[in-house]
Symmetry: C2
Subunit: 117 residues, 2 copies
Amino acid sequence: MPSLEFLRREPDIRAFSEGETIFKAGETGDCMYAIVEGAVNIKIDGAVVERLTAGGVFGEMALIDSSPRSATAVAASDCTLAAVNEKRFLRLVELTPNFALQMMRVITQRLRRSSHH
Amino acid sequence: MPSLEFLRREPDIRAFSEGETIFKAGETGDCMYAIVEGAVNIKIDGAVVERLTAGGVFGEMALIDSSPRSATAVAASDCTLAAVNEKRFLRLVELTPNFALQMMRVITQRLRRSSHH
């Protein structure tokens, strides 16, 4: 997993309880999340397709192409997430080329896994 | 398709004849391509999963995560391609945040299509 640890220091930190839905497939998304503590399950059609832990990011697709959420995210444990909205995301891409590269790696790795199903 | 038209002005332009293989799945990849003229078929296990025309890009995954080519690319017509190697790719991400965003959109769109198969 690429290191996106610095996202833990983002100012918008949100807490979710185990089992709580963070967002649902089909919803409009206005932010991505980085996991500061805990674990999150990504589900498509009810099946867990990815389990993410501290340092992992999710929800970036809705920011990148302004489409509805492609999956549902559920807190797999009590967790703390850093939320990054579109404005901040664009700023990070502009200021931190390494952030852009790491986001590309995250999405590419998901695409490779998805293509092998 | 996001506009990556400016890639047509890259200096490393390569010509392929209809039916010619540009790269094969499993090979090591050292560049991505933007189509200047013509069309390219992207194949996985012999099936065409995407047909790209002028302005389209492919082969970026191997640059982003240094993994082998995930698919085979074949010239669907006589075509002219702009090749972008890793050094130039990293430079474009650094100098042109919009390039990074557009590459993220390309990969995200592929992932959305792939997830819906």
